[in-house]
C-alpha cells in the first residue's frame, strides 16, 4: 500500500517537474482551448455597435433562437437596451405588421415566426391564431375554453364566434378567462369602476381584433409567397434535371458522330484502343454540346487530327514500353 502511494506521489512529483519544464508551451495550449470553447460567449462582451452590425442582418426568429441559447444571451436580448436589435430584425421582414402595444418584441417574434405550440413547445405548428395570439397543438386544445355568447363578458383575447347547435360561443384562453373572472369579482363592489373597466376591456379586445385582421392578411400573403417560391424552386430543379438529360444525350451523339468520322478517316485502330478512348473522352474538342455540322467539323478537325497524332504517339510509346518490359520479363524468366 505504502509503496504504491509513494510511487504515485513520485509520479505526481515527476509530472509537476515536467510541467515546469514545458511551461512556455502549456499555458498557450490551455488558452487556445478556452477560446474555442466559448467562442460566441465573447459576443456578449462585444461592443454594442459591432453587435448591432452582426444582428442587423438577422430576422426576428434568429434573434429569438439566439436568446434561447444561454442565460447570458437571454438577459442581454431581453433587456430594454436591446430593443433596437429587435426593431432592426423586424425591419428586415417585408410588410411586417407593427408590434401591438400589449406585447413585447420577443413574444411577438415567437408568435409570428417560431413554429412551436405556445403551451408545450411542440414543433411544426404552422397555424397561428392571431386573435388568441397563440399556436396550439392537438394535445393543448384544452387550454382554450369555449363560453356561450349569451352570458358573454368581454374576455380579453376572445376569438371569433363559433356557432354550434343553434347556440353561439366565444373562444378564449383558459388562463385569460380565469384571470378575467378573478379581476371581475374583485371589482364587483365598485359598480361604476367595473363598468369602466369592462368598457376598457372591450376596447382592448377591439384593438386586438383589428391587429389580428392585419396580421392574418400578412401571414396569408407570406404563406403564398413562400409557396410560390417553393414551387419555383421545384420547377427550376425539374428544368435543370431535364436539361442535364438532354445535354447528356446530345454530348453522347456528338461524341459518337466524331468517332464515326475519325474511323472513316482511318483512325479506327486508335479509337479501338481503350486508353486512347479514355483520354479522348476528356478532350474539350470532343465534349461538344453543339450539333456537329460540317462547319463545326471543319473548325475542330485539324486540331483533333493533331491530337489524334499525339495520342497515336502515346499509344505507340506505351506499346513499345510494354513490349520491352515483357521481353525483359521473358529474359529474366529464361535466366
Amino acid at each position: 500500500m505504502n509503496l504504491r502511494r509513494s510511487k504515485r506521489r513520485r509520479a505526481c512529483a515527476g509530472r509537476t517537474e515536467d510541467d515546469d519544464d514545458a511551461e512556455p508551451e502549456k499555458p498557450q495550449k490551455k488558452m487556445k482551448r478556452m477560446k474555442v470553447k466559448g467562442r460566441l460567449a465573447g459576443l456578449v462582451m462585444l461592443p454594442i455597435d459591432v453587435m448591432a452590425e452582426i444582428f442587423s442582418h438577422l430576422e426576428p426568429l434568429d434573434i429569438l433562437y439566439l436568446s434561447w441559447t444561454s442565460k447570458d444571451f437571454n438577459s442581454l436580448l431581453m433587456s430594454r437596451s436591446s430593443v433596437f436589435i429587435w426593431k432592426s430584425a423586424f425591419a428586415n421582414v417585408p410588410d411586417m405588421p407593427g408590434l401591438p402595444p400589449d406585447m413585447n418584441e420577443a413574444q411577438y417574434a415567437r408568435l409570428a415566426f417560431a413554429p412551436l405550440c405556445s403551451f408545450c413547445n411542440r414543433p411544426n405548428i404552422r397555424k397561428i391564431d392571431w386573435r388568441l395570439r397563440c399556436r396550439t397543438c392537438a394535445s393543448c386544445n384544452d387550454e382554450i375554453r369555449i363560453i356561450p355568447t349569451k352570458n358573454a363578458i368581454p374576455v380579453p383575447r376572445r376569438t371569433t364566434v363559433v356557432h354550434c347547435a343553434g347556440h353561439s360561443y366565444y373562444q378564449c384562453l383558459k388562463s385569460d378567462h380565469d384571470d378575467f373572472q378573478k379581476e371581475r369579482t374583485k371589482r364587483l363592489p365598485d359598480m361604476v369602476g367595473l363598468v369602466r373597466w369592462e368598457r376598457e376591456q372591450k376596447e382592448r379586445l377591439q384593438r386586438i381584433e383589428e391587429h389580428a385582421v392585419i396580421c392574418e392578411k400578412w401571414s396569408d400573403l407570406r404563406a403564398t409567397v413562400r409557396a410560390t417560391e417553393l414551387a419555383a424552386i421545384r420547377q427550376q430543379r425539374y428544368t435543370e434535371w431535364v436539361r442535364d438529360i438532354v445535354i447528356g444525350a446530345k454530348t453522347l451523339t456528338v461524341h459518337r458522330r466524331i468517332m464515326e468520322r475519325l474511323t472513316k478517316m482511318g483512325w479506327g485502330e486508335e479509337i479501338a484502343d481503350p486508353e486512347t478512348v479514355y483520354l479522348l473522352r476528356e478532350e474539350t474538342l470532343v465534349k461538344q454540346r453543339k450539333a456537329l455540322t460540317e462547319r463545326e467539323w471543319a473548325k475542330i478537325s485539324d486540331l483533333l487530327i493533331k491530337r489524334m497524332e499525339q495520342l497515336r504517339e502515346i499509344r505507340l510509346n506505351r506499346e513499345q514500353r510494354r513490349k520491352s518490359y515483357s521481353s525483359l520479363c521473358y529474359n529474366a524468366g529464361a535466366i
Partner: protein
C-alpha cells in the same frame, strides 16, 4: 516596418502600408515616441487579444486592400449582395474564424473588415435554432424557453 506581437507571443513583421490599414496601429505610429524608451521597431506593438493565426488572416486582408482609400464607416447593405469576390472567398474560407476576425478587426479598428465579418457571422446564425447555434459556436446551452 512594424513589428506586431500577438497574444501567443509571436512577432510578426509587417510593412507600414499594410499595418496602417488598422486605425489602432495608425494612431500608435502617429503618436510621438521618446527614443529613451528604446528602439521603436524593436519594441514592437503588443496586441494582447489577437492570436497569431487570426492576425495573419487579417494581414492577408490588409495586404489585398492596401491600395484602397481608408473607409471609416460601417456600411450595412444587403447581406452578400455586393461583396467583392475576393472578400467573399476570404471570409467564407473558414467560417469559424469569422467571429474571431470580427473581434480582432474591431479591436484593430478596420471597419470594412468588421462589417464583412459581421455579415459572415450573421450568415452562420441565420435560419438556425437554438441548439444548432449552440453546436456551431460551442455555447453551453443553459436556457430553456
Amino acid at each position: 516596418m512594424v513589428v506586431l506581437i500577438t497574444s501567443d507571443d509571436e512577432r510578426i513583421v509587417v510593412e507600414d502600408d499594410i499595418a496602417k490599414r488598422s486605425g489602432l496601429i495608425r494612431d500608435l505610429l502617429a503618436a510621438p515616441w521618446d527614443p529613451k524608451d528604446g528602439d521603436r521597431e524593436y519594441m514592437g506593438i503588443e496586441l494582447p487579444i489577437v492570436s497569431s493565426d487570426v492576425l495573419k488572416k487579417i494581414l492577408e486582408y490588409c495586404e489585398h486592400h492596401k491600395e484602397e482609400p481608408f473607409d471609416d464607416t460601417y456600411e450595412s447593405e444587403d447581406m452578400f449582395a455586393d461583396i467583392d469576390e475576393w472578400d467573399l472567398n476570404f471570409i467564407t474560407a473558414d467560417p469559424h474564424m469569422a467571429f474571431e476576425i470580427v473581434l480582432a478587426a474591431n479591436y484593430l479598428e478596420i471597419p470594412p473588415l468588421v462589417s464583412l465579418g459581421s455579415k459572415a457571422v450573421a450568415n452562420m446564425m441565420r435560419g438556425k435554432d437554438a441548439e444548432e447555434i449552440c453546436d456551431m459556436f460551442n455555447i453551453e446551452k443553459d436556457f430553456e424557453p
